[in-house]
Subunit: 216 residues, 2 copies
């Protein structure tokens, strides 16, 4: 679904369509029709169908186009010098920060997969790939941090990430540290301390932090 | 949205509409039109609009009608004699069992809130109430089990529940014990052992269980 081979005009049309699609699908849902997307983008349906095989392809391509932006908003910079524990917590701090800013609409990858209703939908394939990328990041840091079972911890952290996102949608309320506290607790159990930058030496588990309980 | 005051015929029509709505909204999404719901139910649109103020009301009422069934499928029977830890794990075991049976469509309450795109949508209100009920169950058991912070643990367990559900949608794959393992780990940290039926005496935390890591 790359646009490397498109002439400049078509590439610009494609970008306008994908921006409009990402906006409408995220705000209203992927059932929004191609008519509305074309109107928002200022592009004819004929032009749209010259660039995309159909609606499903448009949904998938718009999600794929959003992916690098979401990753950049969530993940720490490569080699930022912080410990694996801090780099993992960064993701959960960013999630807690971003959800209210995005009006508690939740993770667009999960939201799209939930709406697509099929694991074979091309957008579900994109969503799965993005989630696998997040799990890969967690696994890499868990391994560096000396986790006893990096694969298990990586899957647990991805699950907490998605659960935190779902919770913010349902409650429409800030997470108040719940995602960060829970990620930290799971790292404690896995044996990732604050002072184990590269898995050398024995990791020092921190005690589970007592958290004050916000009203909900 | 109760139907206590409806005559028998209208109550039956209402039930047929709600069953059809629950089926179509869960399988295809809440954007499915009232025409399709009326067709599936064998009910005229005129009859539908005599019973429901509109589409949003129909979505909320169908979700509310499903709620007791979902609770029964997930929660243990009251006073089943098992420990709080076992009663909490029951919910996660049931979730892992039910997701594949329901074709990995995820929690209908989260799915509906994600699609409703507004916390004020009447269906979002129903979804929030149901999730609060699950959190209440966890809090009650956490308190009985002697958890250090029952409120925190209850919110963590609800988050893991929703994350596990989201994960099964995105991966379309069995959870392979991930939800159960993670709930157990969080209970370990909170100090809920297996042998503390009513919060009397010191809870005995179990060691985090090493879990084999399935391929994804």
């Amino acid at each position: 679904m790359g646009n490397q081979t498109l002439p400049a005009g078509a590439a610009s049309t494609r970008a306008r369509l994908l921006d409009a699609a990402a906006k409408l699908f995220h705000e209203q849902g992927i059932h929004v029709g191609v008519d509305a997307v074309c109107r928002e983008a200022g592009v004819s349906k004929r032009s749209m169908y010259q660039l995309f095989a159909g609606k499903d392809d448009l949904v998938a391509a718009s999600l794929e186009r959003s992916a690098p932006g979401f990753s950049a908003a969530l993940l720490p910079a490569p080699d930022d010098g912080r410990s694996p524990r801090e780099r993992i917590l960064h993701v959960f701090e960013r999630l807690e920060h971003l959800e209210p800013m995005q009006d508690f609409l939740g993770c667009p990858f999960v939201a799209t997969a939930v709406q697509a209703k099929s694991p074979d939908h091309p957008a579900s394939v994109i969503a799965r790939r993005h989630k696998d990328g997040l799990t890969d990041f967690f696994r890499h840091e868990a391994h560096r941090g000396g986790a006893r079972d990096p694969e298990l911890l990586a899957r647990q952290l991805t699950m907490v990430f998605d659960g935190a996102s779902a919770r913010s949608v349902v409650q429409a309320h800030e997470l108040d540290g719940l995602a960060v506290t829970t990620a930290g607790a799971l790292m404690d159990i896995a044996g990732i301390g604050s002072s184990s930058p590269d898995g050398d030496g024995a990791p020092v588990p921190r005690a589970a932090q007592p958290a004050t309980s916000p009203p909900r």
